[in-house]
Amino acid sequence: MAMEMRLPVARKPLSESVGRDTKKHLVVPGDTITTDTGFMRGHGTYMGEEKLIASVAGSVERVNKLICVKALKTRYNGEVGDIVVGRITEVQQKRWKVETNSRLDSVLLLSSMNLPGGELRRRSAEDELAMRGFLQEVDLISGVLVQVSPSLVKRQKTHFHDLPCGASVILGNNGFIWIYPTPEHKEEDAGGFTANLEPVSLADREVISRLRNCIVLLVTQRVMLYDTSILYCYEASLPHQIKDLLKPEIMEEVVMETRQRLLEQEG
């Protein structure tokens, strides 16, 4: 049986022609950002000896009088209105502990869940006991979870996307991405919570794994993730086999094509 082996090699420095010319102020910890004391200090900076000094490596962002440094890679900091995807780690008295790739574990309260049967039921003691029935540790619902860095998920109006290739994607702001087969029919009842446990067909599974590889590909080349970029990448990857998508040369090719289409679409 033939096997393929690859050896690590020094990374090629990126060609400068890839991105647009940016005039951003890049800093590393210890760099002085400014000696002007009129500014308010935001995240990623600290005050030392009358100077504003950076504490993370990244780019400086200035909003009027506020200066902050946006680090390349950070844990997810939640904001109101964000969509997040999480994984249940613990069941507690009236809530679930959810892992969301942020600094501390998140909490999902029983009272904020949509229970089957409608909205306006008071949460009773039986609901608490039935908590494990809804979501237990290590529960698996059909689909694939991809973990990426939160900084790569673009902020958009909606994060639930039904892709025409037959799968649906939820792009959580926290960097968790959930890929699952599009449900056959949309149920418009009181938005209850149902668990879908049917086995997934082979065609659907192929689509999902191809999508997953596409996302991983985009992440390694640091392309922002949103529905258009994922779709273009998927289409660009169709000529290749799913398992070939993670090879460096094929990755570069597919990403080049994706980038080109995105640029064409914009300008």
């Binding site: 420095p13 990126l14 400068e16 890839v18 991105g19 647009r20 940016t22 951003k24 890049l26 590393v28 910890p29 210890g30 760099d31 002085t32 990623g44 600290y46 030392g48 000896e49 000094i53 504490s55 993370v56 490596a57 990244g58 780019s59 680090a71 390349l72 890679k73 950070t74 844990r75 790739n101 600094r103 501390l104 574990d105 973990q147 860095s149 900084s151 790569l152 080349q221 640091r222 392309v223 922002m224």
Partner: protein, 210 residues
């Protein structure tokens, strides 16, 4: 999530900060106003000239872990993450003297990559005194010779010392020159690390576009 790096120096050590602050089973140890910094050091069996099995938790590992912890507690802005824990794991792949210094340099890059806020880079170097000459960055042979050895961890921008450690006896007249040699070498390391980090940040920001 976390940072990864490989320090290319005398002793090569990849360090990674697996997760930024997070409360773990050690809730009892969580400090109410600061983050807890936890450093673990381990050395691969093939790192020295002779293959030697090193059990985890032996004295040298513990001591090195403690030194690393003291160094990074001085550099990381722990006030920003109360009741959390920052883990730094360092593993030495190849040791030819100066293991503490290499660990510190590698860990600095890892912590930076993970996005943990720090005062400054932490750059370290060892120095010694042989035949009335101050030597910087001692190799294994020079360390084994038994002369006085100094380990210095520096925050280059401000010139503040994060950790200064010495064993064996050294006349105080010579202290100045040895310290100077170590500081100069540490600053050279800083130049190198600085260049690499800036290049990396530039590449990443170019790719991200807006």
């Amino acid at each position: 999530a976390g940072g990864r790096c490989s320090g290319s120096w005398r002793a090569m050590s990849p360090a990674y900060v697996p997760f930024l602050p997070q409360i773990r089973g050690s809730r009892a140890r969580a400090l109410p106003d600061r983050a807890l910094v936890n450093c673990q050091y381990s050395s691969a069996t093939f790192s020295t000239g002779e293959r030697k099995r090193r059990p985890h938790g032996d004295r040298k590992s513990c001591e090195m872990g403690l030194q690393l912890r003291q160094t990074f507690e001085a550099a990381i802005l722990t006030q920003l993450h109360p009741r959390s824990q920052i883990d730094i794991y360092v593993q030495v792949l190849q040791a030819d003297g100066g293991t503490y210094a290499a660990c510190v340099n590698a860990a600095t890059l890892a912590v930076l990559d993970a996005g943990v806020p720090m005062r400054d880079f932490v750059c370290a170097c060892s120095a010694g005194f042989v035949d009335s000459t101050a030597l910087a960055d001692l190799s294994h042979v020079e360390e084994a010779a038994g002369g006085p050895q100094l380990a210095l961890a520096l925050l280059p921008a401000s010139g503040q010392i994060a950790l200064l450690e010495m064993d064996a006896r050294l006349h105080e007249d010579h202290l100045e020159s040895v310290l100077e040699a170590a500081a100069r070498a540490a600053r050279d390391v800083h130049t190198l690390l600085d260049r690499v980090v800036r290049q990396h940040v530039r590449e990443a920001s170019v790719l991200l576009g807006d």
